[in-house]
């Protein structure tokens, strides 16, 4: 009786393994990582602007864009990154129209249109603040390969770990390069200059 039961269990396991193997074999090849295929980063999206109206990424076309994912309760890295982008755009010397600076929140629960709008207004130069429904934000994060994760804070509330890179897109909305916080301003400015070409 016990050995019969054992045999049945084993055969069930074999069947599960076989089905699993077939499913894995039938699966399309996993999408290429973002390092190996740059063309997969980005793509069209629709989020919500600071005026609470839909914001289509098509509105960014026609000039290059620097897109940064952050959250308004981020007192250090996010304003530092946005202030740096504003500075680099000034150093470029072609006015605020030379490149759009876009801030997309990864914390849509706390950051509504009003929050991203007033946060984007802190930098003394045009910055576009975007939010959206959590599902929309998730989709755009996936499009850009952006990671973010809530982390509870000891004193209550939470902070968000998130990708620190800025995505540089050309005038057609195609991904060109990232800016990292570690690289010097000279390298960053050279990358931004190349977008203008």
């Amino acid at each position: 009786m016990t050995s019969y039961r054992l045999r049945v269990i084993l055969w069930v396991l074999v069947a599960i393994a076989a089905i699993g193997g077939i499913l894995i074999a039938l699966q399309p090849p996993s999408p290429p990582s973002r390092e190996s295929d740059l063309a997969t980063i980005g793509g069209p999206f629709t989020l919500t602007g600071s005026d609470a109206k839909p914001f289509s990424s098509a509105r960014l076309n026609g000039k290059p864009a620097a897109i940064f994912f952050g959250f308004t309760h981020c007192p250090d890295v996010c304003p530092t990154t946005l202030a740096r982008l504003v500075k680099l755009r000034r150093q470029l010397g072609k006015g605020d129209d030379a490149i759009s600076i876009v801030f997309i929140t990864v914390d849509p629960e706390r950051d509504g249109p009003a929050e991203v709008g007033s946060y984007a207004g802190l930098f003394g130069a045009p910055v576009t603040g975007l939010t959206g429904k959590p599902a929309d934000i998730e989709r755009v994060k996936k499009q850009f390969g952006v990671f973010s994760q809530k982390v509870e804070q000891p004193g209550g509330g939470y902070t968000v770990d998130h990708s620190a890179s800025v995505f540089l897109m050309d005038r057609n909305g195609h991904f060109v390069a990232t800016l990292s916080p570690e690289e010097g301003d000279a390298v960053a400015l050279a990358k931004i200059k190349r977008l203008q070409a």
């Binding site: 981020c74 890295v77 946060y119 207004g121």
Partner: protein, 143 residues
């Protein structure tokens, strides 16, 4: 943050029979403007001109519900912000808090920080007595 110990200072220290106490001086305290309920971050320079190390153990201000020493780091492209433990301030050395690294986070601000405002921040040390510094709210280009 800069950890630099001047060889001369070490030499002086070594030649001294008895150590002088830590001598903490605070300067260059600033914070960016904030909006809404968002927290703020204060950056400042802590200099220890004394002969003994000290430790920054905490911070408080009347302007916010909580002030916490935070450390930001980028690991594999992911920015993470965590509470820092006590910060060591070696003798004859200085800690310069700069954007993107260590800062004092102000949570629960009584009012958003506005450019041109200033407020007092008190830092607590293990050995030295509390020190107050005036924090200026400013929007420095590109920092």
């Amino acid at each position: 943050m800069i950890f630099r110990i001047s060889p001369l200072a070490l030499l002086l220290l070594a030649s001294c029979g008895q150590q002088e106490a830590a001598d903490i001086q605070l300067s260059n305290a600033w914070a960016r403007p904030t909006v809404g309920q968002a927290p703020g971050a204060v950056y400042l320079t802590i200099e220890n001109k004394g002969g003994e190390a000290d430790r920054l153990t905490g911070a408080f201000t009347d302007h916010a519900a909580m002030a916490m020493v935070h450390q930001n780091e980028v690991v594999d492209g992911i920015a993470k912000m965590r509470m820092a433990g006590e910060i060591n301030i070696p003798s004859h050395d200085r800690i310069e808090m700069r954007p993107g690294g260590t800062h004092i986070m102000l949570e629960g601000l009584r009012a958003p920080l506005r450019s041109g405002d200033d407020f007092d921040l008190v830092l607590k040390f293990r050995n030295s007595k509390d020190q107050t510094v005036k924090v200026t709210v400013t929007n420095p280009e590109g920092q």
